[in-house]
């Protein structure tokens, strides 16, 4: 089963193709959630930097009405026991709070009510887990290493972003969860990011967006 945690538009020049593919995933039964960039398509509110504003404007111009309606109708979170999926934080999905510390991770994991919580929004892969003292501890995973996630404790994975990972490695990030063996594996996979950057430039979007895709920042 696939889960796509949102922010399909507002970064690159491929909004239409991406949403088209995401819609097919949704038809096949994937969990598809709304990110803050997706929410911004039909609402002008919320803060976005200039680059993101430009990419959002591009998406508004190029997306078809059915595609816009699809994004507008996406849910903010999904429960699929023993997992919970959300774009930002389960504590208040609509506020787009960042889960970027043990404290915010604990609030999010407590609110989700499931032992395994998967979040997007923050771009870097991180695994938070509950320690015997009841607090959360952050762990930087090594891609490709299956991590056993057993025990009567909460786990929260920031699955990492496909575009604009912030660690200077342009490879896309994704995460696998094996709920039978109870293992989480963080992955990185390269894609044709030079072509993606080229499209951004040719669409006349801010050069910084292309540069970030190329250099993984």
């Amino acid at each position: 089963m696939h889960a796509l945690l949102g922010d399909f538009v507002g970064y690159g020049a491929d909004a239409c193709a991406v949403v088209e593919r995401v819609m097919r995933f949704a038809e096949e039964g994937a969990i598809v959630l709304k990110g803050n960039h997706d929410a911004a398509i039909d609402r002008r509110g919320g803060y976005f930097n200039e680059q993101a504003q430009a990419a959002l404007e591009w998406a508004r111009e190029t997306l078809s009405d059915p595609q816009k309606r699809f994004l507008a109708g996406l849910p903010l979170f999904a429960k699929h026991a023993p997992s919970y999926f959300v774009h930002a934080s389960a504590a208040s999905p609509e506020r787009w709070d960042y889960v970027d510390s043990p404290g915010t991770a604990l609030r999010c994991a407590e609110a989700s009510g499931e032992p395994y919580t998967f979040c997007g929004h923050v771009h870097d892969q991180t695994l938070y887990f509950e320690t015997p003292t009841g607090r959360m501890s952050a762990f930087q995973p090594s891609p490709g290493t299956p991590i056993p996630v057993r025990g009567p404790r909460r786990w929260l994975a920031i699955v990492g972003s496909v575009g604009q990972p912030r660690d200077r490695n342009p490879a896309a990030a994704y995460t696998m969860f094996d709920d039978v063996r109870r293992e989480i594996t963080f992955h990185r996979v390269s894609y044709d990011y030079l072509a993606a950057a080229d499209k951004i430039r040719r669409a006349g979007l801010p050069a910084a967006l292309a540069y970030r895709v190329e250099s993984g920042i």
Binding site: T133, S137, I147, R150
Partner: protein, 486 residues
């Protein structure tokens, strides 16, 4: 909650036998495997203590061991045959190690110096093997070592361990995360679980006990009692066993430094010193025979006041405190490769803050029968080459505490260098390439090529830059192989 396991029960085909151990970390049973799981050696099954009255820490510890032990390889840990990861009935089936528990050797302590050095080096080898695999044990104590009949040490019980590539389930669990009272390092008492040198402290405490029969800080029953070691200096082992050689006291007290950054940086260095006590650079503490007087204890306390143990970045990158072996051909002191080899050594030393250098000269075995002149006798020849080696090293102006000289008689220099590299956990071998005049000799027949092909580590092959005039004409084919290390 798992139901009680009884002898005769079967779990996933394993037939339960006698219960060998029952303790805080769970139960250990002998088991008979199903035919398809028969590994050809005796097996043990470990299960966590679960249920009313069992500590929850036992479950976490079991989970940690279940994750880490199967990842470890080599002869210094028991082999894992099966992992039961059903949450209702977790278990671990592993090799039963034949040998003597180190606790039995502690009971015989004080050991004599030679045995202490030998056993101690074996323990350090086991730690080094585990550290190299990115794991810190964090509960090093006699009960967790078995010494095989052949002398090799095996490390058991990874319930407190930490693996760099996996989340540390005991992170921040300060009060339970500390190892065993008599051996635990000061920084663990402050909640730090990320420094391999914590294991070196505990190893020092084990060596102390093997040397004297007593643990260095007693067996404190309270947390406050354990915290004494944040500043208190242990009585020097020689105050209890005056016959203990000063180098061994030096090694033990070096391991037991309160601050991690003053200890040995790797277990390989401890093993090295225990194997070459004659090469240990002695400091004042080597000679101490009385407990620290008021003055020294006060100084120690003063240094430790406030935050007692400053935590420095541990040497996490493998090889950041390398053992480097430099092969020096003392049979041919005029060889043009010597300056290049010396320059390469200098460059390597400049790159590493915490290095250990072994200079090795592999010389031809002296002919049987004593010769007429001193330098023709075996001992005379040995002495002569030792002096040549010392002169070779002198211009480098290296601290004696980081260098050692070895003259080895050998009929097969390549094999001798490789053996030394394996035994001493060498990270890098520096060796001269075959010289220009020897270039025609098939490269794969030279010592350098054999060493390069079979080394357990990196090899730095040093070649003298070719001079203009010798670059063009191809060297003549030589009938005789050259002598010496090349």
């Amino acid at each position: 909650m798992s139901t009680q396991i009884r002898p005769g029960d079967t779990i996933d085909g394993f037939v339960i036998g006698d219960c060998l151990h029952k303790g805080g970390n769970g139960y250990v049973y002998r088991v008979r495997p199903p035919p398809e799981r028969d590994a050809g050696y005796p097996l043990l099954m470990k299960v966590p203590g679960v249920g009313p009255g069992e500590p929850t820490l036992g479950v976490v510890s079991f989970e940690i061991e279940q994750t880490i032990l199967p990842l470890l390889t080599g002869s210094h840990v028991p082999r894992v045959v099966a992992v039961g990861d059903d949450a209702m009935r977790p278990y671990l089936v592993m090799e039963e190690i034949a040998g003597e528990g180190l606790a039995a050797q502690v009971a015989r302590a004080p050991l004599d110096a030679a045995e202490l050095a030998q056993v101690g080096a074996a323990l350090a080898d086991a730690l080094q093997s585990v550290h190299r695999q990115q794991v810190i044990h964090l509960d090093v104590k006699p009960e967790n070592f078995i010494v095989r009949t052949g002398g090799e040490a095996v490390l058991l019980d990874f319930g407190f361990a930490r693996h760099a590539r996996y989340p540390d389930l005991l992170a921040e669990a300060k009060t339970f995360a500390a190892g065993s009272a008599a051996y635990v390092s000061p920084e663990q008492l402050q909640g730090h679980r990320g420094d391999p040198r914590s294991d070196i402290f505990a190893l020092g405490a084990v060596l102390y006990e093997l040397a004297t029969g007593e643990p260095p800080f007693g067996e404190p029953a309270t947390f406050a009692g354990m915290r004494d070691r944040l500043w208190r200096l242990p009585s020097p082992p020689r105050s209890l066993v005056p016959s203990l050689p000063p180098p061994l006291q030096e090694i033990i007290l070096h391991c037991l430094e309160t601050r991690a950054d003053r200890r040995y940086s790797t277990a390989a260095h401890v093993a090295f010193d225990l194997r070459h006590p004659d090469q240990v650079q002695l400091t004042r503490r080597a000679e101490w025979t009385a407990g620290a007087g008021l003055g020294r204890q006060l100084r120690s306390w003063w240094r430790s006041r406030g935050v007692a143990v400053p935590v420095s970045a541990p040497p996490t990158v493998a090889g950041s405190a390398p053992v480097i072996l430099v092969a020096v051909d003392t049979e041919h002191p005029d060889d043009e490769r010597h300056p290049a080899l010396r320059r390469a050594t200098q460059a390597l030393v400049a790159m590493n803050a915490e290095f250990r250098l072994m200079f090795v000269s592999a010389i031809e075995a002296a002919a049987l029968g004593e010769g007429a002149r001193l330098e023709d006798t075996a001992s005379g020849k040995h002495l002569d080459h030792r002096n040549r080696l010392r002169m070779w090293v002198a211009p480098l102006e290296l601290p004696a505490s980081r260098t050692s000289l070895h003259v080895v008689e050998s009929a097969d220099p390549a094999e001798t260098l490789l053996d030394l590299a394996r035994v001493n956990h060498v990270d890098l071998i520096v060796i001269g390439a075959p010289g220009t005049s020897d270039r025609a000799l098939a490269w794969w027949r030279s010592v350098a090529s054999t060493v390069t092909a079979n080394a357990p580590c990196s090899v730095h092959v040093v070649r003298t830059p070719e001079r203009g005039e010798s670059a063009t004409p191809r060297p003549q084919i030589r009938a005789n192989p050259p002598m010496g290390v090349a």
